[in-house]
Amino acid sequence: MASLYRALKAAAILAWSAFVVAPFLWALTTSFKTANAVTSGPTYLPWLQYQPSLEGWRVLFRSYGQGIDIVGPYLSSLFVTVTASAVSLVLGTLAAYGLSRYTYRLGFLGNGDITFFFISQRIMPPIVLAIPFFLLLKFLGLLDTELGLVIVYVALLLPIAVWVMVDFFNNIPREVDETAMLDGCTPVETFWRVILPNCKPGLVVAGLFCIVFGWNDFFFAFTLTFTNTQLLPVAIVALNSSVTPWWSLSASGLVSVAPLVGVAVVLERYLSRGNLAGAIR
């Protein structure tokens, strides 16, 4: 029975892996194909079934003929995502600690209402915010700038950071804070030396969410920028002309996924290790 169970489990994992990995393999092979090879039916083996070409990859760099520059948007995307995520994580963690440990009164609103206010930002459809954000950035003179996008992304990512971190802080008994203070820590030292080190998995989860949401955003990058600033998702869509260039779309898709895969690989071990070490009881 046990071996049958193991076999079934292995089969299920294999099937799911294939399901997840297949699109990447498909994109990888397509990115090395020419227009003819793409339209002549499904082929997978380079040199045997089709002649590989670097055409799809060359288009991504300005130096090559009528291609588009993907390096600029790539760096812009990296800068905007990393900055906005870092700011959101710092502010969100501090806000979450406050909401978890102190009592606030805002008129008739209490801690729960304030926390919900943060989360509710993510409940409404993003399009509702498009015009307010547009007008705000216009007023600030930050339309079509990286700084403007950072501000908008912080507004979008902060709720995620607060939401994740409040939960983690609430799972640490208050008595741990109290003990730290009895042991001579000021409230700031308590947060920095005792609470934060115990929330590493939370920081990883919140950071991961921020980076993924920020990196993948198309809507605000599209509506709030025009010519000076362009983020990667917008640049990739701009590749699409009268003829769909499947080869360069595939190449740019792989390039845009790469950093997230990198982040996931690096942080994954903190996640699994943190889940075990974070158990408090």
Partner: protein
């Protein structure tokens, strides 16, 4: 341990939360180097008092001074206090060694001194084999030992223990309690306050007992004295497990009249009672089964360790009798019970003690004798 040898004097500490009174004007004076047991039932305000003493919660009125310093205005992290909670509270991201070292490092002790002190304390508490482990990898008992080591290591002026054994299993509780007696015998000038709901613990740990109920301090004094001469009915009830039996009765014509037609001569310590109505207190162990007694009706027999607690009805009044050994009784059965008049307490109608037996009664748990039967 600590060089500061000043008493902690608190006057009229009060605290209520959302209209609910947690402390109703508690005044006490705690001497350095003494051991105090804060005894009271659940919700008596023990934890509230400890938290105010620690500076974790503010008192709404009253004062708390130690060596000329106003403690109510001092931030917690500038105070010299250690606290052990009911729950096992440690720093989960640190090893046992670093947990115990934490307060010393915060106090900027040298690395060599930190390491030496941590190892000494760990040895005393049997934690040496676990120094390299994370607290989440320890059993409950070891976690609480770690918390205790961290509280002891810094030699604070005030060491507060809030029912530290209540979440441990019975065997471990017994074992740690015995170790406590040794641990706290060498407490230097530290004031130790140990909160407990168990009368037995107060007697075993010795020192001064502070009996608390409903946010008030009812009586303070050496544990055995308070046990032998509870100032009021309430103290007598709190300081006995099972709670002291209380029977409405009267004294008239040199005779003591109890429910169920029990009549006893007012001899010995009862001779000074003036005629009138009283409530008489008798410990479960001072009622004997059999002999020249009165009939009582069995309602429940509860076997606990090597004794049996008989819950009976004496003419409608509930009574608990402690019978040595394991016995089985049928419910509804009528047995004969005899109250030992030399062990009777008498309380006036306002609840205050009117007469107490010399030596505190026969069925009391004096020193080790009670432990065997619990």
């Amino acid at each position: 341990m600590s060089g500061n040898a000043a008493p902690l004097v608190a006057e009229g500490l009060s605290r209520s939360v959302d209209g609910e009174v947690h402390l109703a004007g508690v005044s006490l004076s705690l001497e350095p180097g003494r051991f105090y047991t804060l005894l009271g039932p659940t919700l008596a305000g023990k934890t509230s008092l400890l938290r105010v003493l620690a500076g974790l919660d503010p008192a709404q009125s009253g004062s708390m001074v130690m060596g000329g310093r106003d403690l109510l205005r001092a931030p917690v992290w500038t105070r010299s206090v250690a606290m052990v909670y009911q729950q096992f509270i440690n720093y989960p991201h640190l090893t046992v060694h670093d947990n115990v070292a934490f307060p010393l490092r915060r106090a900027k002790r040298s690395a060599a001194e930190v390491d030496r002190t941590v190892r000494e304390t760990a040895e005393k508490l049997g934690l040496t084999p676990f120094l390299g482990r994370k607290c989440s990898e320890l059993s409950g008992g070891q976690q609480q030992r770690t918390a205790l080591a961290r509280a002891l290591v810094k030699g604070a002026d005030l060491l507060l223990l809030d029912e530290p054994l209540v979440n441990l299993d019975y065997k471990l509780r017994e074992q740690l309690r015995e170790e406590f007696v040794n641990l706290f015998s060498d407490k230097g000038s530290t004031i130790v306050v140990y909160a407990s709901t168990e009368p037995l613990e107060a007697l075993m740990l010795g020192g001064t007992v502070l009996v608390m109920s409903e946010g008030r301090l009812l009586q303070a004094g050496p544990a055995h004295e308070v046990f032998a001469r509870p100032a009021s009915e309430e103290v007598a009830r709190i300081f006995n497990d099972p709670p002291m039996n209380l029977l409405d009765g009267a004294v008239s014509d040199g005779e003591l009249i109890l429910p169920g037609g029990i009549r006893k001569p007012t001899a010995g310590h009862l001779a000074s009672l003036r005629p009138g109505r009283y409530r008489f207190g008798i410990r479960a162990g001072d009622i004997r089964v059999g002999g020249a007694g009165v009939p009582v009706r069995m309602e429940l027999a509860e076997i606990s360790g090597s004794v049996t607690y008989l819950h009976v009805s004496l003419d409608g009044a509930p009574l608990v009798i402690q019978q040595a050994g394991v016995h089985s009784h049928a419910l509804g059965e009528t047995i004969v019970a005899d109250v030992d008049a030399t062990a009777l307490y008498a309380f006036a109608e306002d609840g205050r003690l009117a007469a107490a037996p010399a030596g505190g009664g026969e069925g009391g748990f004096r020193d080790g004798s009670w432990r065997e039967s619990s």
